[in-house]
Amino acid sequence: MTTAAPVRIAFDHVSVEFASARGTMRVVDDVTYDIRDGEFVSIIGPSGCGKTTMMNIVAGFVQPTSGSVLLDGAPIKGPGPDRGVMFQEYGVFPWLSVRDNIAFGLKLAANRTPEAARDEIVNRYMRLMGLADFADAWPKTLSGGMRQRLALARAYAVRPQFLLMDEPFGALDAQTRSAMQDLLLEVLAAEGKTVMLITHSVEEAIYLSSRIIVMSARPTRVREIIDVPFPYPRQEALHETREFNELRSHVRELVMLEYAAQARQTTPAAPRAADDIGRIRRGKPPGGAS
């Protein structure tokens, strides 16, 4: 990643407040960072600190209370197909078959695609994501990992320039998770995109990203921005290197401090955060299957 790449997403002194029972609650507090073209940026921080809120600003669902978020230099006016979003809950359409889920975006006026080209795109992503045998299946018959791949295929099919992913692998078992990470890197290598990924897993953040932004407890601020120096393409064996482990120790330390700070806040999110700390101590992804 050369620093010469143009800035695509610019957070400039962004704060977000929500109305709550006890007045307003500040969730995002004076956050400034840039995401450059082709970067893979991971956001890591305690549960309930405001990560999804930041992503929702970029996705076009939330407006900052103050400050600005610019997309290619322009303010964000609502959601759009240039930004593919993978929601934490996947949001696979249950009334459409696997094939029709992937084709959904391609049939919209915004991305109108001739039928032949559409079929080709749909078939390609079904093959790539290992869903070809389930083309006509209802989502209710799919496993969690398959739904996740389906959501990814659906987001990819409309060729977004940005990919916004909210804890996409959190609910998967370790093997599926690792396979999905490699698949993601593979797909990204083929069609470069600018990626913003929210995760609780330090390993995942290091393995996938070119930069990691560690966020503090709520109201969330940028705690530290860490460059990940490993070149792409990356292989599983990277996990075993000394450099990887040193970086992991450093990031884990930072993250643990923030998880502990969040856990001390007497909020409904606290039990979850305390649980996360335990998981991180044991070297496991928080919130995920153990």
Binding site: W95, L96, F104, L108, W138
Partner: protein, 250 residues
């Protein structure tokens, strides 16, 4: 085979109990006709009597009342379910009207609508609408906003969102509302035919009660139950076909 036996068993049990009671001597045999007596009466009324006309009249009234009730319940229920803030205000009003027994409204309906066919259909419409609208809005209110967000991020316009996301998510609730409304309408039929009906299953029952023809009353009641059950089955088959994607089919 076992399945059929299991389905038939409770029915046979009920008929057997009925038969036992009627021949046991515990009750005056004149008060409880036996199943064969009722079966015979059914056959007589069907072939030589007015039963086909009664069934047709009642079914027609139920269809008309339910069709009108659901036609209004779907849009109203949709709006109430979708705009949650309106619902808080309208909810008590709906529950107030739903709680009123249709039979209590008959005098008013006669005053305002006379004693013709419209008056009977209005009673059925009333019952179907309030049953259907509540099922509709509870169902719509449960639709996850997540699907709307996903469609937006893929570039859906307002009209695409409505046609391609909201309509498919609404269909299962429409079918459930239809089922509930039909059930309620059949249950209200006899009351609606209290309004000077000459023909119809409710009228059949009332006329028979005036002459103490218990076997005819039994025939009328069983016909209502069987037709209502058959319609429920038909809608469930429809649901299995059209909303097969659902996790759990009603």
């Amino acid at each position: 085979m076992l399945r059929i036996a299991l389905i038939a068993a409770p029915w046979l049990l009920v008929v057997a109990l009925w038969w036992l009671v009627s021949i046991s001597g515990l009750v005056n045999p004149g008060l409880v006709p036996t199943p064969p007596q009722v079966g015979l009466k059914f056959w007589q009324l069907l072939t030589a009597g007015s039963l086909p006309v009664d069934i047709a009249m009642s079914t027609g009234r139920v269809f008309a009342g339910v069709a009108l009730g659901i036609a209004l319940a779907v849009p109203v229920g949709f709006v109430l379910g979708w705009y949650r803030n309106i619902r808080g205000f309208i909810d008590p009003l709906l529950n107030f009207f739903r709680a009123l027994p249709p039979i209590a409204l008959i005098p008013l309906v006669i005053v305002y609508f006379g004693i013709g066919e419209p008056a009977k259909i209005i009673i059925l419409f009333y019952a179907s609408f309030f049953a259907g609208v509540i099922v509709m809005y509870e169902g719509i209110a449960q639709i996850s906003p997540l699907y709307v967000r996903v469609a937006r991020t893929l570039g859906a316009t307002d009209s695409e969102l409505f046609r391609k996301v909201i309509v498919p998510l609404t269909v299962p609730h429409m079918l459930t509302a239809l089922r509930v409304a039909l059930g309620v309408a059949w249950a209200t039929l006899v009351a609606s035919e209290l309004i000077a009906a000459q023909r119809g299953l409710g009228a059949l029952i009332q006329n028979a009660s005036a002459f103490f023809q218990l076997d005819v009353i039994y025939v009328g009641i069983i016909c209502i139950g069987v037709i209502a059950l058959a319609m429920d089955f038909a809608i469930r088959a429809l649901a299995r076909r059209f909303v097969a994607w659902q996790d759990r089919i009603a």
